[in-house]
Symmetry: C2
Subunit: 95 residues, 2 copies
């Protein structure tokens, strides 16, 4: 799925609720989902990890919609290699 498609899907599914909730409350939701992903990675199974990765991406895309950010534009930061050292592979371990 292209990130533009993900953002549109989130807009269609949650756009109205997102606008009503606001950015700060959505940051709280994203943080909760990152915590659930951390737990799934520590002690979850494959299905739980799939579920939590999807939720983290969904809330990230919803937040981007609210903030007026195009995720494809954002990822230009990585398109030509590590943004710190320029390497593919990175020679600085993204430090």
């Amino acid at each position: 799925m292209d990130l533009a498609e993900l953002q549109q899907l989130m807009q269609d599914t949650y756009g109205a609720a997102d606008t009503e909730r606001g950015i700060a409350a959505s940051v709280a939701w994203l943080t909760e989902e990152v915590g659930e992903l951390a737990q799934a990675l520590r002690k979850g199974d494959y299905a739980q990890r799939l579920h939590e990765f999807a939720d983290v991406l969904a809330w990230t895309a919803s937040l981007a919609n609210q903030a007026g950010i195009d995720l494809n534009e954002a990822l230009q930061r990585y398109a030509n290699g590590c943004p710190v050292c320029g390497g593919i592979p990175c020679a600085c371990a993204h430090a």
Copy 2:
């Protein structure tokens, strides 16, 4: 950018460093980036928000690579509407 393309880009750029670092340390990095995104959304400008959204996506994709998760497969969870109520738009506000 398709999520498979993002995962491949992260593998090419950071795969070796990711393997050496391990999942727990990568979870810590992702958490740090989510904090930076929260700050950029609260008081940053457009360029800072672009930067932090990219970093959150990059670390999410790196973690997915380490965990053997295909993000496109994960997002099937949202492909047919809200995973809780099934609605497009969601009728339960993803509660």
